[in-house]
């Protein structure tokens, strides 16, 4: 997993993979911070972190992200 993060991160930043793309966020960034920075409403999305669904939205503001976390942020789109 760490092999895909070849670059050096700035001090105080960590690298994540969000929906298949690398992103750098400040250390101590929470899940709520990430959603806020992406302009997303927690109620309108579902987040899977390292293969586990985060069910408790009220915990997002206290949940620190960790380096190399792999996140999937999904929602409902048109489909049959």
């Amino acid at each position: 997993m760490s092999s895909s993060f070849a670059w050096e991160t700035t001090v105080g930043e960590i690298s994540l993979e969000v929906n298949g793309a690398e992103r750098r966020v400040p250390a101590r960034f929470t899940v709520a911070d990430l959603l806020g920075s992406l302009g997303l409403d927690a109620r309108a999305v579902v987040i899977e972190r390292n293969g586990t669904i985060l069910r408790d939205r009220s915990s997002f503001a206290m949940m620190d992200l960790a380096a190399d976390d792999k996140l999937e942020i999904v929602h409902f789109v048109g489909g049959g």
Binding site: A44, V45, V46, I73, H75, F76, V77, G78, G79, G80
Partner: protein
């Protein structure tokens, strides 16, 4: 009595409303939300269709686009029953993963389960479908299983706890109509759970003929969304599903190889 009262149409109720897993639905027509030219057109078409069950797919949020493509901003969850699908999943484990994500959205524990086995035909993988059905039923999901028109697979899905079985009329998006009415009738006759025909309906007559087989409902997407005028086609599909249902309940006349006159043969004038 006003004259209008004498000619007002009689409302003929369906003696057996559609009930799936104990929940009654107001329409036998279920519709998808994909492939519309715009969200406005989608909402207009769905409203016109009279459908209550509306399917949606689970996909990554596009983080690099400012435009919100989420379906929920356009569909009121209080007015429609959102049924998440696992479209695009090619393995039981993928389908289970998508179903879990959909349930975590917090609307319901129902899923239209698709496990696709072939990219060209989008035909279901019966083995993966059965495996995923068992897993999800164990986890408390209400599984509506999209399957082929094979009776034995349908029976196994019912045994595995599917709350409805959804045989295809013809491949997804093909618009070919019902290719095997015998198989659809057989599945309906042998299963206890509702049978909802899913996929392949291309126009209103297709929908009518499907309902005339006695099935409990139809789910369609492309048949409406890919019409030249989707809103008008939605109206046609609504009428066709109701017509087909009524024709089935009415019981059609026997087919005859010879003509039988409709008017009296006595009382004709002398020559």
């Amino acid at each position: 009595m006003a004259h209008a009262d004498l000619i007002s149409p009689v409302t003929i109720a369906d003696p057996h409303p559609l009930v799936i897993a104990g929940r009654e639905f107001r329409s036998r027509l279920m519709v998808g939300t994909g492939k519309y030219a715009s969200n406005v057109q989608m909402v207009d078409a769905i409203e016109t269709s009279g459908a209550e069950v509306v399917t949606v797919a689970v996909r990554r949020v596009d983080l690099d686009r400012s435009k919100d493509e989420g379906a929920l901003h356009h569909l009121d969850p209080d007015h429609y029953f959102l049924l998440a699908n696992t479209a695009g999943c090619y393995s039981a484990s993928d389908a289970v993963r998508y179903a879990r994500l959909a349930r975590a959205a917090g609307f319901n524990e129902w899923v239209k389960l698709e496990v696709i086995g072939d990219q060209q035909t989008l035909l279901p993988d019966s083995i993966g479908l059965l495996e995923a059905t068992k897993t999800l039923v164990d986890e408390g999901f209400k599984v509506l299983a999209y399957t082929n028109e094979d009776l034995v697979t349908a029976l196994k899905l019912e045994d595995a706890g599917a709350v409805a079985v959804m045989p295809l009329a013809s491949p997804i998006g093909s618009g070919l109509g019902m290719l095997n009415p015998y198989a659809i009738r057989t599945i309906k006759q042998r299963l206890s759970v509702p049978v909802i025909v899913d996929a392949g309906v291309g126009t209103a007559s297709d929908a009518c003929i499907v309902m005339e087989q006695g099935v409990d409902g139809i789910l369609m997407n492309t048949g409406i969304a890919a019409a030249q005028d989707p809103v008008r086609m939605a109206a046609a599909m609504k009428a066709a599903v109701e017509a087909g249902r009524n024709a089935y309940l009415a019981g059609r006349m026997p087919r005859r190889e010879v003509a039988v006159p409709s008017s009296p043969t006595i009382g004709m004038l002398g020559s």
